[in-house]
Symmetry: C2
Subunit: 402 residues, 2 copies
Amino acid sequence: MCGTEQALVIKSSKNSSVPQATDNNGSMQNHPSEAIINLDHGDPTMYESYWKKLGQKHNLTIPGFQSLSYFSNIKNLCWFLEPKLEQEIKMLHNIVGNAIIKDHHIIVGTGSSQLIMAALFALSEPLNQPNPINVVSPAPYYSSYPEMTDLLRSGLFKWGGDANTYDHKDEPYIEMVTSPNNPDGVIRKPVVITNGAKGMLVHDLVYYWPQYTAITSPADHDIMLFTVSKCTGHAGSRIGWALVRDENVAKKMVKFIEVNTIGVSKEAQLRAANILETISVSCQKIKSRDLENFFEYSHNLLVERWKKLREAIKKNELFCVAKFPLQYCNFSGDFTESYPAFAWMKCKDGVDCEKLLKEHKILSRSGRRFGSDPEYVRVSMLSRDEEIDVFLKRLPTILDCK
Amino acid sequence: MCGTEQALVIKSSKNSSVPQATDNNGSMQNHPSEAIINLDHGDPTMYESYWKKLGQKHNLTIPGFQSLSYFSNIKNLCWFLEPKLEQEIKMLHNIVGNAIIKDHHIIVGTGSSQLIMAALFALSEPLNQPNPINVVSPAPYYSSYPEMTDLLRSGLFKWGGDANTYDHKDEPYIEMVTSPNNPDGVIRKPVVITNGAKGMLVHDLVYYWPQYTAITSPADHDIMLFTVSKCTGHAGSRIGWALVRDENVAKKMVKFIEVNTIGVSKEAQLRAANILETISVSCQKIKSRDLENFFEYSHNLLVERWKKLREAIKKNELFCVAKFPLQYCNFSGDFTESYPAFAWMKCKDGVDCEKLLKEHKILSRSGRRFGSDPEYVRVSMLSRDEEIDVFLKRLPTILDCK
């Protein structure tokens, strides 16, 4: 798993190359057997069911006179971070145990995408190199890394490709360490072999939450990225955060966000704070009362979906998905496999898997986009129940007609 | 006036070079005579008083299950634009008469800063030039344009300086037309003289609202930028919008925002829609009931502040500010001068005005930052009453001790 969901292939009605079978929000409209199932992007609508059960109890209300100012706390290094969000981020990491907050600055971003750009800027700009430095990640890597890195043809950094085959030649570089990885859910460590201190790391940990994988220890890296999109499902809020050890790097990241968007929406921050607070409360037996543990609920949903996926694939030898090791999760106090937000499916050799699925009205993302082979596709496991159900019913019926 | 408020010079408590006399949100804490008055950035807290008078009546409430998806309307070219915001933007422009909506696409951005970047990307990327194209604006220009243009050392575009002295050499370039201009409030037209079609324009119209200046005709340009920050005072929301004529340019701008932040916060969009709706209603006599016309209210506040500023300056020959012509405003149905969001003050020759004001605990922004001379400063007129009052009381007492 990993990175955030970018490069969403959107078709406007005027330009659509595929028939539209969904309403404006992407929900199915047609009869299920006819519907196009869009599992290309990881839109986390699976989580709606949890929040709907809570009803109106966890509404956020903002009066018209609140939060007019650009500033949240001018005494904070990250002057646009709402104090309440800062507090709830700390609380949640402490409860889940997935990251060390101590000795880290918290920087809020407009989703983790903006924080990735901010981190690349903060690490590369002070080096003042004559040529852009390489940004690498081992294939299969998050499909948006190349695009976001090269978007403005920056003189500071450029996409350097697959970290497995990268030779740093004693030059500075940045490795994106995405763990669990997007698209394949694998737990990762840095791969570039370096003797010096010129390799800089950005840990993209947006899927390091207990619904997806075992929390084996609190992560403690120089730059760690998280987002509510993949933690709570609130992708529409565009709220991410970075935990950054070095003060100068943190300042440069703040500078990037200041110039890029002059801070981050206060409404979105206040809502995210509210949502994170609810989740934290749901994890505490004494406080939670009738609130179901959010991570248990989401974990159970994913366990069920993955079980059905494996059963569906068993009936069709055309496809396979990897197994994940059992690991002890400190949060749940139990052994668990990983149940990633995406299935990284492989077709038998020679089959273009994305094309094959598209013929059966299932939109997925080709392995090519992740620096891998066309036999692979990434399929979102975070859609609504009805879409996942249709996908899982259709999967066993797909034949390779070649 | 113009552009949005960027390059906010923020001092964290650890690194502050000036004593902190404000609380976390920038409000005064110390006795007024001791307080540091920060009028460097255009934080529009002046508008709080209008919204406070409305009390809880115009609250926005968002339940926890709303807006989880990345998508707002997949059938819209701008797939992350909330339909309700689109509707209220159209409504407000129709009521105010400051821009032609017809034949334009609406693109929402995380403040107008992101939209400036998106426009530069959209205009330069398809040209596929070997070298970055120049972005220019006549001095005094918005102080953030150079910084945002050159932030990532893009190979697509670079800051080209003062448009008054720019020779385009028959090469493509982009001129930022900021009207009313930031910092000096002047109504502008493009200045670069070009015979061919290689000059591209971005109209930054974020201050083209009736509280600041006469609405003489609806603007009708290829790319026009607006923001709630300067229209309604909700700078903390980070919501701007672009009206874009060409479909391909609009698509490229959407692409930029997709890669940069995967859309724009839904909470902020819904709140902005609410706020714009309130303003529109306040302008319609039949509907408004006890709601005071927002633009009349804000205009009156600015008229009062400018009157006091001119009186204060009259008592001190050290300073001067320009006069603005009377123009007929189609919105108010009356003649009015301009009452810009910033005062562009000039000290007598040889005086570093920013330095002089700083000695009197007034933070302003030097003319140098706008491509102009150190005799000039930009002073925000949008702060809270108590800060403006202290500033206006202190101004006549300032002497040039050189």
